[in-house]
C-alpha cells in the first residue's frame, strides 16, 4: 500500500501545517463576509461595495471584513455561493453580503443551510416574498434618480439626439433603470430644450451579463464602438465596468464629439475625464451601516430596504445612498439645467413616472395623471414607449 501510505503522510502533513493557520478571533469582533461578483477594483459596481465595506471597518467599532471578489462561474469555475459561504462562516463571519443579482439562488440556498447566520442580498427582493427564513434581507439604492440625471445630462449634451444605453442583462432591475434614463432624457429634450419627442432616439443594447465574459456575452467595447459609429453620440453605461467611457475617451482624443456616462462608482469618471458627463453612483455606506450594526447588536430584522438620495446633499457619504458626480465634459449651461432638474426631483415637483406613459408595445402603463407606485417601478415588466431595443 505504498501509494496510500505516501498520500496519507502527505495529507497528515498538510493538516498539521494548516492547523495553526486557523484564525483565532476575539469574541468581541463582529466579522462580516462580502461576496463581490466582479473584481474589487473594477471602477464600478463591485468597487463601490468594497470601498463601503472598508469604510465600515473604520467607522463601526469591532467590525472586520472578509471578502472575495470575482464570484461568478466564469471567473471561478466549480466554486458555488454555498461553498464560499461555508468558508467565510468557518472563518468567523456572522453576516454574509452577496452583491449581485446573479447570486440570488446561491444566497437563498446558503441562507436555508445556515439559519443562524445573517444574509444580506443586494438588489433582490426575497425578503418581500417569504422565500426564505428571517435571516435574509435585501438592500438596494433608488438608482432611478441617478439614471434620470444621467439621461437628462445625456440629452442636454447630445448633438445628434441619438442616445444609447449599454445594458447588461434584461430583468426588472435593468428595465426600470433604462426606463428611468429614458425618462430623464425625454424630459430634458421636450421640457428644457423644447424639441419634439420624435426627434429623440433612445436605444438599448444588452450585452447579456453584468460585465464582459469573453465568448459568452457581447463585447461591451465592440458594442460601444458600433453605437458611436452609427451616430449615437452619448452612451450611458448600465454595466458594472467602464468600457463605454474608455471607448468614448479614445474617440474624444481622436477629435470626435462623443460622450459617455459610466455607472456605479463615484470615481468612475477618472477613466477618461474628458469624455465623462458625470456618473450616477451608489454609496453603500448608509445601508451597510444599518444592517451591519443591527446584526452586530442582535437587532436584526428581516426587511427589504430601498434607500434613496439625501436630497439636502446627494453626495454626502454619510447619508445619501445615491449620488451624482458631474463630469468634466458637462457644459456650464447643462450643469445649471441639471441643478434645476435635481431640485425638481428633490421637492417632488418633477415625478417622471407620471402618466400618460405607455409600454413599448403600446399598452398603457400609467393613465394620465396617475403616478407609479414603488411596486410598479420595482417590477417594471416592459420597456417604455419611445425606447428602442429588446425588453424581455
Amino acid at each position: 500500500m505504498k501509494n496510500a501510505t505516501i498520500i496519507g503522510v502527505l495529507l497528515a502533513a498538510l493538516c498539521c501545517i494548516a492547523a495553526p493557520g486557523i484564525a483565532q478571533e476575539t469574541a468581541k469582533t463582529f466579522t462580516f463576509g462580502l461576496l463581490m461578483v466582479g473584481p474589487a477594483n473594477d471602477h464600478g459596481w463591485s468597487q463601490a461595495h468594497f470601498e463601503a465595506a472598508k469604510e465600515i471597518e473604520k467607522e463601526v467599532a469591532h467590525t472586520k471584513m472578509l471578502y472575495i471578489d470575482k464570484v461568478n462561474p466564469a471567473d471561478r469555475p466549480g466554486i458555488t455561493i454555498p461553498m464560499l459561504v461555508d468558508d467565510l462562516i468557518s472563518k468567523g463571519a456572522k453576516l454574509i453580503i452577496g452583491n449581485s443579482d446573479d447570486m440570488k439562488d446561491g444566497m437563498r440556498e446558503a441562507a436555508l443551510m445556515h439559519p443562524d447566520i445573517y444574509f444580506l442580498h443586494i438588489s433582490g427582493d426575497d425578503a418581500l416574498h417569504d422565500k426564505t427564513g428571517n435571516n435574509l434581507s435585501n438592500l438596494m439604492g433608488r438608482m432611478e434618480y441617478g439614471k434620470m440625471m444621467a439621461g437628462f445630462a445625456a440629452a442636454m449634451t447630445s448633438k445628434t439626439g441619438k442616445i444609447a444605453y449599454l445594458g447588461p442583462l434584461i430583468n426588472a432591475e435593468t428595465r426600470r433603470l433604462t426606463a428611468s434614463a429614458f425618462l430623464g432624457a425625454r424630459y430634458a429634450w421636450t421640457h428644457v430644450l423644447k424639441k419634439p419627442a420624435a426627434d429623440l432616439h433612445f436605444k438599448v443594447n444588452w450585452i447579456g451579463f453584468w460585465f464582459n465574459i469573453p465568448g459568452v456575452t457581447s463585447d461591451p467595447t465592440l458594442v460601444t464602438k458600433q453605437l458611436l459609429d452609427s451616430g449615437y453620440d452619448v452612451v450611458i453605461s448600465g454595466i458594472d465596468t467602464t468600457e463605454a467611457l474608455v471607448v468614448a475617451g479614445q474617440r474624444r482624443k481622436a477629435g470626435k464629439a462623443v460622450w459617455a456616462i459610466p455607472y456605479d462608482f463615484k470615481d468612475a469618471c477618472n477613466e477618461a475625464p474628458d469624455a465623462c458627463l458625470g456618473v450616477p453612483y451608489f454609496n453603500w455606506l448608509p445601508g451597510y451601516k444599518q444592517f451591519i450594526t443591527a446584526a452586530r447588536d442582535g437587532k436584526w430584522k428581516k426587511q427589504f430596504v430601498w434607500l434613496g438620495p439625501d436630497w439636502k446633499d446627494i453626495n454626502n457619504p454619510e447619508t445619501s445612498s445615491i449620488g451624482f458626480v458631474e463630469g468634466r465634459a458637462l457644459g456650464k449651461s447643462q450643469r445649471a439645467a441639471l441643478a434645476t432638474f435635481q431640485q425638481g426631483l428633490a421637492n417632488g415637483s418633477i415625478n417622471l413616472f407620471t402618466g400618460p406613459l405607455n409600454f413599448q408595445d403600446g399598452s398603457v402603463f400609467l393613465k394620465k395623471g396617475e403616478t407609479a407606485t414603488d411596486e410598479q417601478i420595482w417590477n417594471l415588466p416592459k420597456l417604455l414607449e419611445g425606447m428602442e431595443g429588446a425588453g424581455k
Binding site: N3, C15, I17, G21, L66, D69, A74, M83, F209
Partner: protein, 347 residues
C-alpha cells in the same frame, strides 16, 4: 510481492512522480519567492481551506467527481491514440441532455427515476457528441483535435442559445443561467455534506470500470493496440477506426455524465460555464499521469485540492487565485519534461 500487482504498479507510478513533484515545487517556489510570496503561507492557507474538516473536504470531492469522470473518459481516448480536445463539448452536451430531461420533469414519475433518466441522457448526449468527432475523423479525414475544437465551439453556441433563448427565465434575458430545478430534482445531499453521495459513488465506480476495462479485458487490449500502432493492429483483425469510435464514445459518455452531475448535483440549473473547464483540466491530469490509469484518482484529488484551496488565496493572502493555474501548469510542464528526458535516455 508480484511485480505486476496493482500495489506495485501504483507504488512505482507514485515513486516515478516524485521527481516531477520536486521539479514542479521548486519552479513554483522560485516563482513565488521572486514575487515575494511565501510558498509555505500559501500551502498552509490552501490546506486549511480544504482539508481541516469533512465539510471542506467534501467540497473538494465535489470538484474531484467531475474531474475524475473527465479524466477517465480521456484515458480511453488517449489509449486509443486520440487527442480528445472535444471533451469540453461532450461535457456541455451531457449537461444539456440532462437539463432537457429535468426540465420535462414528468410529475407522474418519482424524482429518482427522472434523475436516473437524466443521467443516462447525459451519457448519451456526451457519447453522441464524441461520435461526431469520430465520424468527422473516420469519414471526413478531419483530425480529432480540430474536429473536437470545432464541436466545442458549436456546443458552447448551443448552450448560450438555449440559456439566452428558449430556456430563459420568465421576463429575464441573462447569461446567468436557466431557472433553478425543483428541489426534488437535486441530487440528495446529507446535512454537513457538500458532495452528493450518489455522485461520489458514480465517480468511484466509473474509475473502477475504466481501470478494469482498460487493463483486464480484450476490449482494453484492442484499444491500446490501436493506439500503439493502428497499422499493425489491422494485421490482428482489429479495425482501428471502429475501436477509435468505441473509445471516443465511452469517453464522451463519461464526460457527458460529468456534465449531467454538474447540472443536478452542483449548480441545480444550466449555466454557460457548466463544464468549469474540467475537460481541459482532465487533459492535464492524464498527461501528468503519463497516460496510466492508476495514478489518476490521486492526481485528480491533488488538482481538486488546488482548485478548492485556491479560493483561500484571495481571502487569506489577497493573492489572485489564478496562481493555482500556475501551479497546475508547472506540474504538467515538469511531468512532460521528466517523461521526455526519460524517453530520451531510454531511446
Amino acid at each position: 510481492m508480484k511485480s505486476n500487482s496493482i500495489y506495485f504498479r501504483a507504488g512505482s507510478a507514485t515513486l516515478q512522480s516524485i521527481p516531477i513533484l520536486v521539479l514542479a515545487a521548486a519552479s513554483v517556489s522560485l516563482f513565488l519567492f521572486a514575487l515575494d510570496f511565501s510558498p509555505f503561507a500559501i500551502i498552509r492557507a490552501m490546506a486549511a481551506g480544504s482539508l481541516t474538516s469533512w465539510l471542506k473536504f467534501s467540497q473538494l470531492l465535489s470538484i474531484w467527481v467531475p474531474l475524475l469522470l473527465c479524466s477517465c473518459g480521456l484515458l480511453f481516448t488517449f489509449k486509443a491514440g486520440l487527442w480528445n480536445i472535444g471533451i469540453e463539448g461532450q461535457v456541455v452536451m451531457g449537461a444539456i441532455a440532462a437539463t432537457t430531461i429535468l426540465r420535462l420533469n414528468p410529475t407522474s414519475l418519482p424524482p429518482v427515476f427522472t434523475i436516473i433518466v437524466a443521467m443516462l441522457a447525459a451519457c448519451v448526449g456526451g457519447s453522441l457528441w464524441g461520435l461526431l468527432v469520430g465520424i468527422l475523423k473516420n469519414r471526413g479525414g478531419v483530425n480529432e483535435i480540430f474536429g473536437g475544437l470545432g464541436l466545442n465551439f458549436v456546443a458552447q453556441g448551443i448552450i448560450l442559445y438555449l440559456i439566452f433563448g428558449p430556456w430563459k427565465r420568465a421576463g429575464i434575458a441573462s447569461m446567468s443561467g436557466t431557472d433553478i430545478f425543483a428541489r426534488d430534482l437535486w441530487l440528495p445531499m446529507p446535512v454537513g455534506w457538500r458532495v452528493a453521495p450518489a455522485a461520489l459513488v458514480t465517480a468511484v465506480c466509473a474509475f473502477a470500470l475504466t481501470w478494469l476495462l482498460l487493463s483486464h479485458t480484450r476490449f482494453g487490449l484492442r484499444v491500446k493496440a490501436v493506439g500503439l500502432n493502428p497499422e499493425v493492429s489491422r494485421l490482428f483483425h482489429i479495425n482501428p477506426d471502429r475501436y477509435g469510435l468505441f473509445a471516443i464514445m465511452v469517453g464522451g459518455a463519461l464526460a457527458g455524465l460529468a456534465g449531467g452531475l454538474q447540472v443536478t448535483g452542483v449548480y441545480h440549473r444550466l449555466i454557460p460555464a457548466i463544464s468549469s473547464g474540467y475537460g481541459y483540466l482532465g487533459l492535464l491530469v492524464v498527461m501528468l499521469a503519463n497516460y496510466k490509469s492508476l495514478p489518476v484518482p490521486l492526481i485528480t484529488l491533488f488538482f481538486a485540492w488546488l482548485a478548492a484551496g485556491s479560493i483561500q488565496l484571495p481571502i487569506m493572502l489577497q493573492i489572485d487565485s489564478s496562481l493555482s493555474g500556475v501551479i497546475q501548469g508547472a506540474c504538467v510542464l515538469s511531468a512532460l519534461l521528466v517523461h521526455g528526458l526519460r524517453k530520451q535516455r531510454k531511446g
